[in-house]
Symmetry: C2
Subunit: 337 residues, 2 copies
């Protein structure tokens, strides 16, 4: 029972054609007001619901967009997805989620699956381990809009939405300088990812702008977890002239550093200041709340969605938009003397 009703069912009930029903439902001016009313009422009575699959097949538009992220349960990414969803849902789009687990092969797999599903666009953050770009170019060949957010690869025809990591690094570092810190270290990530490279560049620029020489031994590349932060800061403390502040490209690393500093009995923020990056939720809840750079992920998601929408609107024109959002420094206890 309660089989789905189609326009054919309505047509049969009214002894008219499915074509007429379709036109009536779509408010086609060629249909008389009387028929329209009749069809509408019958449709409501029979509880008709449009089959979006049939529409999609006919029109070639699925009204689905694919979103690919490394892990969906990382707050930064889930917040971006939230932004995308909230922007696109009112327009009738649905968001299909895929995770790469940072694997390039999974990323390729995801892209193919989404293309098979006939998505109208793909919004994604590139996996850390991705080196090739063939799969991205393949998307473009198929004329499917592609938008990178946060982590990108430079490709012709791909729009990107990122935050100004350079600016973020600069502000964080300048803030530490303003606090009177003289020996500012930097914990970075793998420079094959632009975001880490750019944060470092911002750090460097802030130092030189304020007449502070960059010390090579103050810059350490680490993984993005607490353990790495502990180890790296231990290394810094063992230097003949240990630093008096850390700007970390990761909140987790910064947290590890704070833990290690406390182990050494170092007082934060009076003796040592720490600034993280990402504004992970936990940074705010720490007893010693952490200063960090906010990337406004929800806004980033919304912006990525908007860029996608522009792209589908002028599908004939090839747009390559590069949106750069400004980061915000959230000044909290870990850096205010």
């Amino acid at each position: 029972m309660s089989e789905k009703t189609t326009i054919y069912d309505i047509a049969k009930a009214l002894n008219i054609t499915a074509a007429t029903v379709s036109r009536a439902l779509n408010n086609n001016p060629k249909i008389s007001a009387a028929t329209k009313k009749l069809v509408m009422e019958t449709a409501a009575k029979m509880n008709y619901k449009q089959n979006r699959l049939a529409l999609a097949l006919k029109s070639g538009k699925s009204n689905n967009v694919g979103v690919i992220v490394p892990y969906i349960d990382r707050n930064f990414f889930s917040a971006i997805i939230r932004g995308i969803e909230e922007e696109l849902y009112p327009l009738g789009y649905h968001v299909i989620i895929c995770q790469t687990h940072e694997q390039e092969s999974t990323e390729i797999d995801n892209i193919n699956a989404l293309l098979n599903a006939q998505v109208d666009g793909i919004l994604m953050s590139v996996s850390k381990l991705t080196t090739q770009t063939d799969h991205f170019e393949y998307v473009l060949e198929k004329n499917v809009p592609l938008v990178f957010f946060d982590r990108k690869k430079d490709l012709k025809g791909v729009s990107t939405v990122t935050i100004d990591d350079f600016e973020g690094g600069y502000r964080a570092t300048k803030h530490l300088i303003d606090q009177g810190c003289k020996r500012i270290a930097h914990l970075s990530g793998d420079w094959s990812l632009e975001i880490y490279k750019n944060r470092y560049e911002g750090y460097k620029k802030a130092l030189t702008d304020h007449g502070i020489a960059l010390k090579k031994e103050y810059v350490i590349k680490t993984k993005s977890d607490i353990r790495a932060g502990q180890k790296a800061s231990e290394k810094l403390l063992m230097l003949p002239e240990p630093p008096d502040a850390i700007f970390s490209s990761s909140d987790y690393v910064a947290l590890g550093a704070i833990q290690q500093l406390k182990k050494h009995g170092i007082k934060i923020p009076t003796e040592f200041c720490v600034v993280g990056f990402s504004n992970e939720p936990f940074t705010k809840f720490l007893e010693l709340s952490m200063t960090t750079v906010d990337q406004s992920p929800v806004e980033m998601g919304k912006m990525a969605a908007k860029v996608f929408l522009e792209q589908v609107k002028d599908s004939n024109v090839k747009i390559e938009k590069k949106v750069v959002l400004s980061p915000t420094l959230k000044i909290r206890m870990s850096s205010v003397k």
Copy 2:
């Protein structure tokens, strides 16, 4: 250029029928090995990709499942989605995300949208503000499998995956008793949500099992945020006989309580113990790490996916499965004297 190639294109290229191509690609035994090989090769050469929309329309199965949660960027929910995605993706399913923002009207809207999109099932957590159940029954009428996780409504024919909130409440409370706490308060939520009611029941049972009388003034219902935790604990401290421990149904509320206790100079855990619920990521990172009840959301998601799969396997049989997962008490510093 690079228009999508269909089986018709392959057929034309080989001077055979689309039917033959389809069969060859599906490894139909009625097709000769020679033709199969030829078709396969040509398909690869022409970069053929199956159009899942066409398949979906024909078969009536979209291979998409809808997932509805209040907010996707709440760790508990995003972790569940992660579990669902990881379980279903290998089987060719895609996950479509919707958020309700805890609004019943949005929930109804989401369900209709997902049904229109012909999803093969809906996995969801019921919104806090939902009172009706018509929209759920409507899903069942359409013979679309419906699975509730965590927050549920009792409905015939709906499978549910929850954690044993009673058990969680019991264990948390018993742990506090074991620590020597004598006056254990409980911060709860709105009892129209079973989860809060059940956690309370577990709390109550643990008390009576250990010969402790339940004091009405020790049980307060609050919202689920830090502020509410601060206010509620303030109220508790003003009692003529203030408690010496709090079991909170929410990690955020527990955090607020801890902050308030500290303000009063109360030493945790020596003078006062606190246990939260949910194992939000931040609880582990606090300097005074928080004891809390873990709900293993990724596992819950995987289990919800499995239940859904069983349901589609025996679509003729009406299964109503009630899976109850065991919570785990994560004992940390906030409660160990």
